[in-house]
């Protein structure tokens, strides 16, 4: 199966408490923060590799192509999935202010038209903008079925359909989609038995989480090709339609934490001071 995995670089979310707003409120400053592969996209890479391999033998069954939109430093971001085992990369050259989810969806649509993958697999959201829209918009532009918030994927033996468990508010909603399709993944897609492909034996369990790149993988990734295209090459001329005028930090919580000494004191405070009991 040919799988396209769009990935985004984000300011390291483990440092998100250090994301700041510039004094004039015009931009979010990520100075001093490291760029990192968006964690949900990393899970998508892992899921794509699992669909395309025999987990027990490591035998490869298909191709995984990763794509990222952004300036030249996204090539660094692309090397990580390549080191994990993806086959090749595509950079769509753009500056960050040229992009919003509608531009991203249009550019990815043009790339899909050229690459003709069987499946687009991506994170449900990027942890910077937190929009959770690009995958759905892409599916609609392509006229493809989609399954968002995937926590389990089972590919049939012929690779023609996927049965996808979606993590929704009210439980798990299962869909069967005929490929080609767009799937966006949630966290639990990287649990040990979440992805099945009809080739890997049922008894095989993956390690929890996305795989680390081996030293060999890192060396190999340096030689893997990254194709560079521009938005214009893909025929995308539109500008972002969602425009930010201002940013601010969330309001601080009202007061400092009060340490209480005992259960009785806590209950009294909740009744008389906070008045929530």
């Amino acid at each position: 199966m040919k799988i396209l995995v769009p990935v985004k670089r984000v300011a390291d979310p483990d440092n998100a408490n250090k994301v700041k707003v510039s004094p004039d409120g015009q931009r979010v400053t990520s100075d001093g923060l490291e760029w990192k592969l968006n964690p949900f996209d990393e899970y998508a890479v892992e899921a794509a590799l699992r669909i395309n391999e025999n987990g027990a033998s490591g035998e490869k069954l298909g191709e995984v192509v990763v794509v990222s939109l952004g300036p030249d430093d996204v090539q660094t971001t692309l090397r990580q999935p390549l080191a994990m085992g993806a086959d090749r990369g595509v950079q769509i050259k753009a500056t960050d202010d040229q992009l919003d989810s509608s531009v991203v969806a249009k550019a990815l649509k043009a790339l899909v038209d050229a690459e003709k993958p069987d499946l687009v697999l991506m994170g449900k959201q990027a942890v910077d903008g937190d929009s959770n829209t690009a995958g759905q918009m892409l599916a609609e532009l392509l006229g493809w079925p989609m399954a968002t918030f995937a926590m389990a994927i089972e590919a049939d033996a012929s690779g023609k359909t996927l049965t996808v468990g979606r993590e929704v508010d009210t439980g798990v909603l299962t869909l069967k989609v005929t490929l080609p399709a767009v799937v966006t993944v949630d966290l639990r897609i990287v649990s040990p038995a979440a992805v099945k492909n009809g080739k890997t034996p049922d008894t095989h369990k993956y390690n929890e989480g996305a795989r680390y790149a081996s030293l060999k993988g890192i060396m190999a990734a340096k030689k893997k090709p990254i194709d560079v295209k521009s938005l214009a090459d893909l025929g995308v001329t539109s500008a972002p339609v969602v425009k930010y005028s201002k940013f601010e930090l969330p309001p601080a919580r009202s007061g400092q934490v009060k340490y209480v000494e005992s259960v009785q004191e806590l209950v009294t405070k909740l009744r008389t001071e906070a008045k929530v009991l």
Binding site: P13, A16, N17, V19, V21, V28, S101, S102, V127, D128, G129, D130, S131, N132, T133, A134, G135, Q136, M137, A139, E140, G143, P145, M146, T148, F149, R166, E167, V168, D169, T170, G171, V172, L173, T174, L175, V177, T178, A181, L187, V241, V242, K243, Y244, S245, E248, L249, P250, R253, V257, K258, Y259, V263, L266, V267, K269, L270, R271, A274, V276
Partner: protein
Amino acid sequence: MTDVLVVAELLEGGMRRSTLSAVNFAKQVAEGTGGSFDILAIGEGAENAASQLSGFGARKIFTAEVEGGYVAEKYAPTVAEVAKSGDYGVVTATATTYGKDLAPRVAARLEAGVASDIASVAVDGGKIVYRRPMYAGNVFGYCTVETPIQVVTVRQTEFEAAAESGGSSDTESVSIAEDGAAARVEFVSLESQKSERPELTEAEIVVSGGRALKSAENFKSVLEPLVDTLGAAMGASRAAADAGYVPNDLQVGQTGKVVAPKLYLAIGISGAIQHLAGMKGSKVIVAINKDKEAPIASVADYFLVGDLFQVVPELTSEIQKAKG
């Protein structure tokens, strides 16, 4: 003047209460711009949902009865058709997993931009400005959507449920629009966890447990009595859900549910930023933890340092006593 179309969310043959957050948003925009709002009830039980929504001030309620479970590919074309049939400037839904799934698909069909998961709205010189959390709630951005029609999902914890205003709305049934993608997707099942407790995103009190509870049995024997004494909803940290102590749909956080109850008790939860993103909008936050330096202290109002296995049963009986 901006007219708004609200897409209602249906569950078990009726309106899901979360819909009323999007109705509240629509009222605010309609009032701010001098426009009106309509509702589209689409799904199984659309007629029933329309009657439940009739007293909320909508100019009109459209109904589209769809058999079987929800799939976006069946719903999006119909929503888009209804949106195009009127003079709507905004199409909205609540930012539940339903709204987050459906709305962007509708937007792409309408060539509209999306502001997702918004926390508030203001009308400024005829422009609609949305405020939305980003970076796991560590930054708020103010944005406008520069397309003739805009699509917006509304954060349920930030928009109170609209109140009934009386009267009744006219209803009109609309036909289902077909789409090629719908033929390639099949609804298989929805497995839901039934619970007698209030729903996590709607409860006034939430009691969440973390990995420090150590097992599913401890969630039952230690946490549940407190949850039920308070009439609360039960939540959990990602670590506790991942460890299999509770079902995934009880997870509170950036990857789970966003809650904002009057009282949130974080028990044995250290407070990773992803968890804080899901609960720091709560009015009063209580932490019970062995480690007084745990990051949860940065958002807690009250902090009881102690062993939860000792403190929680004591707290349960203290509250029982207080209730008499």
